[in-house]
């Protein structure tokens, strides 16, 4: 059913012809968005990666479409975001209807001064194609298509894989094995790990349709729309005149019958008939909210859907997977270089399990609101909807999906503030973006200038005893606001509560881990050690 969009040839690798089993520092299983992002991030940190995938193609089909601001910032560091934003549909407005009545609208990015938009919609295969292109540019990535995992043995200090290819099996040892092989993870099954959680009974129909309609570019969600009685509906725009329609069918729907084109058309005609649409893709899905107990199993580490699953409402699946990738990549690179301790890997478990729990919590609450479990719960939900036009408190309780925002980590990697800071910047959170001006007058943004290293951002204090430029060791990159960049809009000062002399230490994943009112070399060194868990 899934059409192939881009095909990649199997090529025999040198590891298949070596006499003994070859050992590689990192093997990533699964070349979806999360596996690709992990491999690229590691490669950019000088870690050689073998990336294997059982397919020989990037397939079409209705998978992830909404990519969040934080994901785009990560992809910008990996070198692909600008082309994706240019290709995608940018949006930030959501509207929620009950019946045909608009209950409220929300704006996901009400402030200016960010390079990346709140969201873009883009078919997942475009994102995968961009990441594959990027991976192929990097010498450190050995991308092997049609390589299927057939066996896994745990070693004391790694894992031994048995890999099936079109011309036979070979074995490959990895110091570290990253399982990015999706919701039906082979690696998870081979380790016999329990993947427990809640399965929701409601079935949903996804239809991607092609039509030249000029609906506004916004997320539209209906409770009990007149065109789909008693259930919910969601509509999103994608590039190429493709629209995603997502219809709740209830627990008793028959998946085979509901996928019949006539049946789908009968549903869609009620709202789309005037636009002369064509069906591009139809599928029925149910969903689970669940996660592994632990993501780190000695030298085998799970990322993305292999580690956790949520409902699609809120765009928390692929986005959280890419955030897993960025959290893990710098830590694993630091451990491989001997800079970080094993406790740093444990912090991946701590931080990303907390994020998964937050996503599962949001996802479960959204689902509970859309699909009440009993008539008593339905009455409560319907009362909220009925009061919503008059009462703001009820509008705030309406939950059609709380859209993905980055996790703020409560983490031992952060150094607690000694003095209070106001503003949007938070310890354990990704840096808020802000517009800046370069010395030559050209415009830029803060976050796009943060590379993959620890970064020290210092606000020039303008002379006096503490007025000199800080001296930092080679493994920390220094950015001075007022020298390298200028904060003409004042947004940077506002978002960071940046008084003259203020100094911020940023993790390699662009999360804030320490800040001070004045530069102190010893304090910076201690905070960096702490962030590396040494």
């Amino acid at each position: 059913m899934r059409k192939s969009v881009y095909r990649y040839d199997y090529r025999r690798s040198i590891d298949q012809d070596a006499g003994a089993v070859v050992r590689r520092p990192v093997v990533v299983v699964g070349a979806g968005p999360v596996g690709l992002a992990t491999a690229i991030d590691l490669a950019l940190r000088d870690v050689p990666v073998v990336l294997v995938d059982d397919a020989d193609r990037i397939g079409e089909g209705s998978r992830g479409i909404c990519w969040s601001k934080r994901t785009l910032e990560i992809l910008d560091r990996l070198g692909v975001a600008e082309r994706l934003v240019a290709r995608g549909v940018t949006w930030k407005l959501g509207k929620v209807f009950c019946g045909d009545e608009l209950l409220f609208a929300f704006d996901l990015l009400p402030e200016e001064g960010h390079k990346m938009p709140a969201f873009i919609n883009l078919q997942q295969f475009y994102l995968e194609k961009a990441l594959v292109d990027r991976a192929l540019e990097l010498k450190n990535i050995d991308l092997r298509w049609s390589n299927r995992i057939a066996g896994l043995d745990r070693l004391n200090d790694g894992a031994r894989l048995t890999i099936e290819t079109p011309d036979g099996r070979y074995r490959l040892d990895a110091d570290w094995l990253i399982a990015a092989d999706g919701a039906r993870s082979t690696i998870r099954n081979l380790l016999g790990l329990d993947f427990a959680g809640v399965t929701f009974e409601d079935k949903f129909l996804i239809a991607d349709v092609h039509m030249a309609a000029e609906f506004p570019t916004e997320r539209r969600f209906w409770f009990a729309p007149t065109f789909h009685s008693g259930q919910s509906a969601l509509m999103h725009r994608q590039p190429d005149d493709i629209w995603r329609v997502d219809l709740q069918l209830g627990p008793d729907a028959d998946p085979a019958a509901e996928q019949e084109p006539q049946r789908v058309r009968a549903r869609l005609d009620k709202v789309l008939a005037p636009y002369g649409y064509e069906l591009e893709w139809v599928s029925i899905y149910t969903f689970n909210c669940r996660r592994l107990d632990r993501f780190v199993h000695d030298r085998v580490i799970f990322v993305g859907d292999a580690a956790h699953q949520v409902s699609p409402f809120g765009a928390r699946g692929a986005n959280s997977g890419i955030q897993d990738a960025e959290n893990l990549a710098w830590k694993l690179a630091a451990v491989l270089k001997g800079e970080g301790s094993d406790a740093l890997i444990a912090s991946y478990d701590l931080e990303r399990i907390a994020a998964a729990d937050e996503n599962i919590g949001h996802s479960t609450r959204s689902t509970d609101f859309m699909s009440p479990h009993s008539s008593a719960e339905r009455r409560l939900r319907d009362a909220v909807l009925a009061l919503a036009p008059e009462a703001e408190f009820a509008r705030r309780m309406i939950n059609s999906g709380r859209l993905s925002v980055p996790m703020v980590y409560d983490t031992p990697l952060s150094t607690p503030d000694e003095v209070p800071f106001a503003g949007a910047a938070k310890l354990g959170a990704p840096l808020p973006d802000a517009p800046l001006t370069r010395a030559d007058g050209s415009a830029t943004h803060l976050v796009e200038n943060l590379g993959g290293k620890f970064e020290l951002i210092h606000v020039k204090s303008g002379g006096g005893a503490n007025g000199g430029t800080p001296h930092v060791p080679d493994d920390i990159a220094l950015t001075v606001i007022g020298e390298d960049f200028f904060d003409q809009s004042g947004m940077c000062a506002q978002r960071f509560d940046a008084t003259p002399g203020a100094t911020y230490l940023v993790r390699p994943d662009q999360h804030l881990c320490a800040r001070w009112r004045h530069f102190d070399a010893a304090a910076v060194a201690r905070a960096r050690q702490r962030a590396l868990q040494r």
């Binding site: 009993s374 009925a386 408190f393 509008r395």
Partner: protein
């Protein structure tokens, strides 16, 4: 003069809604109706203002 507050007062409205949902999870309709009636009495007394109570009744009854 309206005294009823309809602006959202919960820092986390999702958590407040969840508490109300979980209170009735696994209850029969009749049991859930009893729960809601008790909740009305408890919260009405907590408000302790007859004008506010009458305004709230009017808002609730106004809905079909």
């Amino acid at each position: 003069m309206a005294k009823l507050v309809t602006a959202s007062q919960f820092a986390n409205p999702d958590a407040a809604y969840l508490a109300l949902v979980e209170a009735r999870r696994d209850l029969s309709d009749a049991r859930a109706a009893e729960l809601d009636t008790r909740l009305v009495l408890i919260l009405a007394n907590h408000v302790g203002d007859l004008d506010v109570l009458r305004e709230a009744i009017a808002l609730a009854r106004d809905k079909r």
